[in-house]
């Protein structure tokens, strides 16, 4: 049976964006709350719909579920083909969960309509990317994400926004186009071997790619073409330079989505495409990939140590954390991969929330310099509490979600080689150093600036945006089982069958 739930999820935000843009000016100027309320309603409706995934998703199967397939460009075998497994299931929920929070917390007043519409379009693209099972469709959504993000950073960003947004766009586009060449070549190879064109991922898994243990063999080159796009997106050392710029210049909402969801696309790309399609090439490159992942972990953490800007610090910390996620993925054992997927969700929540809170403090003081603050605990006790909880989740304190993911990853890394775990484990120490030092400088000590005495504590709206995240942080930290349950089968299949991956489509009983 063809399910259209995913299609609804993909189309609803875009339709909402259109609706938003059609709101007449009169209504907009008379009722100022109308536009944000409408956007929030759309995104909440989207979230409720996405919860329906729980009813339809069968966690006891690793197969692709809720599949829908409609031919699109027939002559090239391109189709609109969507479906999810236990991994994309959670990533879609992460997206639908974070978007309403971003919209709720948005403080943008200027050109608000376009701003909120951009986020809804972005949501469509993100869900599409996680649900796409056709390489061409995946690429379409992948690039579609760029456009709203380009506008979000470029229009509503801070002073150096133009530089940052073009850097972001060009970096991602460069990776994307290389991947496009890879996609075309895969389709062509499929045609050569099977006599018909297909961009369907299930068909592509079956393509036999020549490999002879060198960098120049077909499979290696194709793997590198895909890997480049994903490495840039994650971003991994040495392709990470666009990220701090984009984060610092982006408005709060943009940073939250960028850190919370967009960075996960690269890791997801490895999971769904690069690793299963090119198993031998992946094996061949594993050592080098693990090395750059570990460099990312340590280098990102050291850079974070040196930052004077709040947002930059969080940006570098997320490079470090994403390095750890990739380490878990690349060691390719059950602990590592499941920890890595779990850490993606955890990182999405905690770093998203960190950016949210950095934005809140920026709204009050219009600066992100750490040295401008000090002693805020006395003025903003509520803020201090929330900030501490989220910060501790980010440095993976036990009982928070960060701990579960990080622990599993390190166990996985240890099984591969104790050295990997030792090096990857430095993140636990280093992140504690830079995060707690930052917290100490911002929150404790005497109040050094007079302006800071009058800062308002969190408003009800801001608390409403943070509470759901905090609940999830503890839930995922204390009782991770329901979350792990859903992804277990898919991850297991991924690990056991990575060398001969052939996902089927789930048949409803």
């Amino acid at each position: 049976m063809a399910h259209s739930l995913l299609t609804v999820l993909i189309c609803l935000p875009a339709a909402g964006a259109l609706l938003l843009l059609c709101v007449p000016k009169v209504l907009e100027s008379r009722y100022r709350w109308f536009i944000p309320a409408l956007a929030l309603a759309v995104s909440l409706a989207e979230f409720v719909f996405s919860l329906a995934l729980f009813c339809y998703f069968d966690a006891s199967s690793h197969l692709l579920q809720l599949v829908q397939k409609v031919p699109w460009i027939h002559s090239l075998g391109i189709s609109y083909f969507v479906g999810i497994d236990g991994i994309s299931f959670w990533l879609i929920l992460l997206t639908t969960f974070l978007t309403p929070i971003v919209i709720l917390a948005s403080e943008v007043r200027e050109r608000q309509k376009a701003y909120l519409a951009s986020f809804l379009v972005l949501e469509t693209a993100m869900i599409g990317t996680f649900a796409a099972l056709d390489l061409f469709l995946f690429y379409v959504f992948w690039e579609m994400m760029l456009i709203p993000m380009y506008f979000i950073i470029g229009i509503w960003g801070s002073t150096r926004r133009l530089y940052a947004t073009i850097k972001f766009f060009i970096y991602t586009l460069a990776g994307g186009i290389v991947m496009l060449l890879g996609i075309i070549f895969l389709m062509y190879l499929h045609y050569e071997q099977f006599g018909f064109f297909s961009a369907n991922i299930l068909d592509i898994y079956a393509v036999d790619l020549p490999f002879d243990f060198s960098v120049l063999s077909t499979q290696s080159l194709l793997f590198l073409a895909f890997a480049l796009a994903f490495l840039i997106k994650i971003p991994m050392f040495p392709f990470h330079t666009w990220l701090p710029d984009a984060h610092v210049e982006a408005p709060t909402g943009g940073s939250v989505i960028l850190a919370g969801v967009l960075l996960k696309m690269g890791a997801y790309g490895f999971l769904r495409f690069a690793m299963p399609i090119f198993p031998e090439a992946f094996k061949f490159f594993t050592p080098s990939l693990i090395i750059i992942a570990i460099i990312g972990v340590i280098y990102g953490a050291f850079l974070a140590l040196a930052q004077k800007d709040l947002k930059k610090l969080i940006a570098y910390s997320s490079i470090s954390h994403m390095g750890l996620v990739m380490l878990g993925l690349f060691v390719l054992n059950s602990h590592g991969v499941i920890g890595s997927v779990y850490q993606m969700l955890a990182h999405g929540l905690s770093t998203g929330a960190l950016f949210l809170m950095a934005g809140m403090i920026y709204e009050r003081r219009h600066t992100k310099k750490i040295s401008e603050f000090g002693g805020l605990t006395a003025v903003m006790p509520l803020f201090a509490v929330f900030f501490l909880i989220i910060l501790l989740a980010s440095i993976a304190l036990p009982a928070t979600n960060g701990f579960v993911g990080e622990f599993l990853i390190l166990v996985g890394a240890f099984q591969k080689h104790p050295l990997y775990a030792a090096l990857g484990g430095t993140t636990a120490i280093l992140s504690a150093v830079y995060m707690l030092r930052m917290y100490q400088k911002v929150m404790f000590g005497p109040i050094t600036r007079e302006v800071n005495r009058t800062l308002k504590d969190l408003s009800l709206k801001e608390i409403a945006a943070l509470i759901p995240i905090v609940i999830l942080i503890f839930w995922m930290g204390i009782y991770p089982k329901p979350f792990l349950n859903k992804m277990e089968k898919s991850v297991d299949y991924f690990i056991t069958h990575q060398q001969n991956y052939e996902l089927g489509v789930y048949e409803e009983k």
Binding site: I73, S75, Y139, V140, F141, M144, L181, F185, M187
Partner: protein, 482 residues
Amino acid sequence: MTAEPFFYLSPILVLAFTAVFVLLLDLFSPGGKKGLVSGVAILGLVIAAITCFRLWQEDAAFLFYEAIRIDRFSIFFTLLAAALTGLTIFNAYPLLREKKIPAGEFLFLVLACCVGMSLMAWSTDLITLFMSLEIMSLAVYILTGIQRERITATEGAFKYFLLGAFSTGFLLYGIAFIYASAGSTTFSEITNFLVTSRYTMPMIFYIGVALLLVGFAFKIASVPFHMWVPDVYEAAHPSVTGLMATGVKAAAFGALIRFFLVSIFSMKPEWDMVVMALSIATMTVGNLAALMQKNIKRMLAYSSIAHAGYLLVAVAATQSQIFNLGVSAILFYLIAYGLMTMGAFSVVVYASQKEEKNRIADYAGYGFSHPYLGLAMAIFMLSLTGIPLTAGFIGKFYIFSAALKSHLFTLALIALINSIVAAFYYLRVIMVFYMKEGGAGPIPRSRSLITVLGITSVGTLLLGLFPGWWFRIIQDAITGLF
């Protein structure tokens, strides 16, 4: 003489008749309504299109001792030319109505140009090809300088004419050489000549083909024959430039396919390298030069050069096993490129209604002060960059497919690097539109320009979303070639 030639020639006859009729109509109504005259011209284009649809079902036929060939391929190009001409007339309508340029002459020249463009794709004889090229070119030379009071326009027209005449000289010289060796100017005879004297090919035949290629390279604005492009594009009124950038280029590619990819296809290995070199130079020079431009017309001029380079990639990639894919990539790209470039020039026309807006910086803040204009420009720029869901992306996708399929990896890689470079300057336009502060005064609303912008932007998106339908038409058109 039976009625049959008239039936086959009906699109051309209708176009030519309308051209003359419009000229006379304007003559007899000197102070009259220019809207009526333009309406008649549009009506003529519509009738020509209808005759085209009737011919679509007919079998291919040669006329006048193989001087022209009527098949789906030629009809495809006639429709493309008619559509682009129609958009040009809509684009120029505000000018015509305010009598800033003489309506009768303008419409006559545009329609004559349309006849020339159509005939280029119809010709299966080098002499017909030359004649139709001249009909088209002469009309465009005059159109460039039709705003006589602007000194730059006159200068541009003169420059275009001189260089154009020069290149036509090359073309004609090449034809002479080919005739001297093959003993005929019809394409089929030349093909036969290639078969029969494969191993005794005289040198002058090669020289002829090379000279012919130079002539074509000039018309499609390929490096190193591109020097005139930025100056002429800048000098002409943007509505005329739109036609020059899209229609003229499309027609030249139509003829190029007929001669180089069909008639002398068997000697493609010999000129393959030349086309590849041309395409690499064209893409790279076009894109790098476009990066430096501050004038939007010059930027679009260099961008059109770069796109000619992408099209040449597809020409180089067209090999016998993937003939269909290669040629359909070219045809699709021509439609896509026509829509988005015409649209981009139309935005310039729209903004320049009161006073000329030539610098890119003049457009600061337009995205929000004129939301629909900004949206349209954003669509065109994203399409020119090759972002998914637009026509430009599908076009590029097919060109890359063709290049990879014929194992031109280096060429594909260079095209890839180029399209990343191109993103810089297209995005800069969007950036100026949306992210720079600037005061944009009110612009008079022009319904005809809104029509053009609507058709081109919706068309760009439709082609990007549902390319399948167009591909079926293009496949049909290609079957007409043989």
